[in-house]
């Protein structure tokens, strides 16, 4: 099974530029900038079917094609490295171990979307990622790989590495842009979309780290090769992150559509100490709980959507028997209550209220009627706010009630 994302993720520190160059890094970028037009790059990424790895799985080439072709003034590429979804730890590995993979992806992507400046917005807590990226960028700049007249093509492509200040919501692309501009990290109403009014009011494309890291191999080996991996609708590999009491927690680069069972049992070595799996979270906290009986679901956006959840970030969390789903739901409700930006009333109040209700259940103070209230909180906020944050907090809460209702009822006092 070919891999192209995780080649160097076993390292203890970042792959230095010299080693990266000797492996052929940046050669694809050099060739693309010399031989292809930006539109040809966009077409290739489109036909490869690359979809965004940040959780929404939006087709990347389509997103790029929204960028204006004729420009008066700057436009930007923004790399979303504000990896904050609980259970997700893939982007940091790319930045810390193989930063030149990302940087080469940036060169090609920035060229495609006609951006001279790329901002890499790194989660505030990811100090190591920040340092690795800054160091790698310095190395690459010293070699003339970034800056003015890249590869002698006359093009200027450069990167600004920016640290966030520790807010989950800044992973939402327009909140990220606000934060980048120095404003409160609050999502912007859409439209306008970033492709017309993004960073500093200019056309902007925002892509996840892993998405950009997929770009070089598509241009290097071609669309047909790329489509040999993954599903028809979502080709390529994903970095699945497995956490929880499994024998080998970690990152596994596997094709989109690998079943959760294969990931957990074969690659992550199954449950530790022969514990039994009770439930799992397929792709980060907001995707909610699935019972162990659904372990054979292929991990691809379409299959998971059919199960009423989402592919998310591929951050798979294993939950063993013995763990209370109500307690687990509380962990997430507290997280989301803490992380909502609070601008929209339904989300601000709904996340806090639901957290308190779930908290009541954990203390045996819940009521059966509260389950209806939780459902109403979700109904009153999901798809009724500026961004999709209510979907995020409703995910774990509603899936917990749907699949493990008895546990709530057992903790109800009436």
């Amino acid at each position: 099974m070919p891999t192209y994302l995780s080649t160097h993720l076993q390292r203890r520190s970042a792959l230095p530029l010299e080693d990266a160059l000797s492996e052929g890094r940046y050669r694809t970028a050099e060739r693309v900038l010399a031989e292809k037009t930006p539109d040809q790059v966009i077409e290739e990424v489109k036909s490869a079917g690359l979809r965004g790895r940040g959780g929404a799985w939006f087709p990347a080439g389509t997103k790029w094609s929204f960028m204006p072709k004729e420009l008066k003034g700057p436009s930007y590429l923004v790399v979303n490295a504000d990896e904050g979804e609980p259970g997700t730890f893939k982007d940091r590995q790319i930045m810390e171990k193989d930063p030149h993979l990302l940087l080469e992806g940036i060169l090609i992507s920035a060229y495609a979307v006609r951006a001279e400046t790329t901002f890499v917005y790194i989660r505030g807590e990811y100090l190591d990622s920040y340092r690795a990226m800054v160091r790698a960028l310095e190395e690459a700049r010293a070699r003339g790989l970034f800056g003015r007249n890249v590869f002698g093509t006359g093009r200027n492509i450069d990167v600004v590495v920016h640290r966030g200040a520790g807010a989950y919501i800044c992973g939402e692309e327009t909140a990220l842009l606000n934060s980048l501009e120095g404003r409160r990290g609050e999502p912007r109403p859409k439209p306008p979309f970033p492709a017309s009014h993004g960073a500093f009011g200019r056309p902007t494309t925002v892509n996840n780290v892993e998405t950009i890291a997929n770009v070089p191999v598509i241009l290097e080996k071609g669309t047909a090769w790329y489509r040999t991996m993954g599903t028809t609708q979502a080709p390529g590999n994903v970095l699945f992150g497995v956490s929880g009491p499994v024998n080998r927690p970690g990152l596994y680069e596997l094709p989109v559509g690998t079943t959760a069972r294969e990931i957990l049992e074969k690659h992550a070595g199954g449950m530790k100490d022969n514990r039994k799996l009770k439930a799992f979270i397929p792709g980060g906290a907001s995707t909610g709980f699935l019972p162990a009986s659904m372990l054979d679901v292929p991990m691809d956006p379409e299959s998971l959507k059919a199960k009423g959840t989402m592919m998310g970030t591929g951050g798979l969390i294993a939950i063993p028997e013995g763990v209370s789903i109500v307690e687990a739901a509380r962990v997430f409700s507290r997280f989301f209550r803490h992380e909502t930006c609070g601008q929209c009333s339904p989300c601000r109040e709904g996340s806090a209220w639901s957290d308190r209700i779930i908290g009541n259940f954990t203390r045996g103070q819940g009521r059966r009627s509260d389950l209806k209230v939780l459902q109403d909180i979700a109904d009153g906020s999901v798809r009724k706010t500026i961004c999709v944050f209510p979907e995020a907090y409703a995910g774990p809460m509603l899936s917990a009630i749907k699949h493990f209702r008895a546990e709530f009822e057992a903790l109800a006092k009436e």
């Binding site: 807010a167 409160r184 109403p189 209550r337 803490h338 992380e339 909502t340 930006c341 609070g342 601008q343 929209c344 009333s345 339904p346 601000r348 109040e349 709904g350 996340s351 806090a352 209220w353 308190r356 209700i357 209230v373 109403d376 109904d379 009153g380 906020s381 798809r383 009724k384 706010t385 500026i386």
Partner: protein, 524 residues
Amino acid sequence: MPKLTIDGKIVEVPPRTNLVEAGKKVNVVVPIYCYHPALSVVASCRMCQVELHAPNQPVRLVAACRTEALEGMQISTSGPDATRARAAVLEFLLANHPLDCPICDKAGECDLQDYSFLYGSGQGRFEEKKREGVKHELIGNHILLDQERCIMCTRCVRFMDEYAKSPSLLVKGRGDQSVIATFPGEKIQSNYEGNLSDICPVGALTSKEFRFKSRVWDLCSSDSVCTLCDRLCTVRLEVKRGRLFRVRPIENPQVNGWFMCDRGRFGLLDHCNPGERATRAFAGASSVGTETAILALATKLRELRQELICVLSARLSCEEILLARRAFAPFVRPEGLLFLPAVEEGGDGILYTGRQAANEAGLKLLGIRPATDSELRAVLSTGGPSAAVFFDHKDAERAQARASCAFLALIDVVPRNLPEAPLHADVFVPGLLFSEKEGTMINCSAILERLRRAQPAPEGVAGERSVLERLGDLLKADRTEIEGPDLTSAVTRALGLPQRTLAQIPRLGLKVPSSAPALETARR
């Protein structure tokens, strides 16, 4: 112009109109909290969600405040989805709201209260302990903040940033811990602070001047203008038992937009509630009835014919200016009908003009001549006219009139009852405040606006209007130019406008053509 349907009513609106404004045109009220037409749109309260119906597509909820009205849109504000969404927003907003309406100044005019009544469920399901926050903290010179009542619409933050141009509020914290606050160690320093309590849709921002003074439903309101500068902001004067309790701006795009300044808002409370004031007329050294004073003045005017100057004041309404002109013009010396223009203090670049001369434009447009202080002093002291009539005691003081006039008459509102006439005037007749008058004034951009009587005249005070009319009649002045259904119709005629009575003056005023005929001073 896009044409669309809102709740079955067809409306045509200019391009780029949002759905809240489009609804207003056909009397469909879309409930709002964070939206304000004068401020940037954040679309965060989610109260204005309406249903967008499109053929072959599921019903979609959109925030009316930031959705542009487009050709052919089918909007419903009362369908099941919109109704449910609104009820949900209200349940969320009320969850942590203290529900202290019985002691809240906003009660009776609170959007949270009103919309809860209209669209809410009537029963709360939130049984947790409510969030606690700062209560009644003075955050500026007038406004008190109650974080517990706040629904985080952020209108106040945007108002201070965008309109008052004095960024002084912020959202502190995140999520359900977010609160409105001032910057650490700072307070609001702005001439527009008072507007915060108007734009706050709940009782989170109240003014210390009105706090606990009255229930809003006990106030009688009259729409008039603020006369503390010549912007003449359109305002609502709210009165109880003859006392002015509150002043609020009324939306008037061509005058003041939606707001007014604090100098006007709070200044009027002092101006219109002067406490003790001179209410007795004087002739010579003795207190007399108004009629006696008018007779004494008429006698004197006949005696002093052509030696007189008459200094009108910008505090007079157009009707009074017209009557004064009619009464005095035949008696004053050439160019003796004049006024002292206000001292330019410099405005604040927003609404306050810095010219404390309410109806100065009315004086000018009705042909009264501006004179400088020194010019007036020179006229008074060089043995020219030996008699002067003033309509503002401050003008008389500015001209040092008492020292140089053989005869001084004063018709004005003067602070206190003294045993003698104010300024030792030979004739003194008490005047009325603008808030005790009906009539019109003209603002700095030549908008003719209406004054409405909001407060009763003090007992025994007849007012400038009847005094001047009576005086003119006693002096047998020509009635031609004041004839008509009412005096305002004479004013509009004199200004070159189509004739209109007071009742016909539109709510938002009338633009006076800049080429208003500067009238010949009638002389005889």
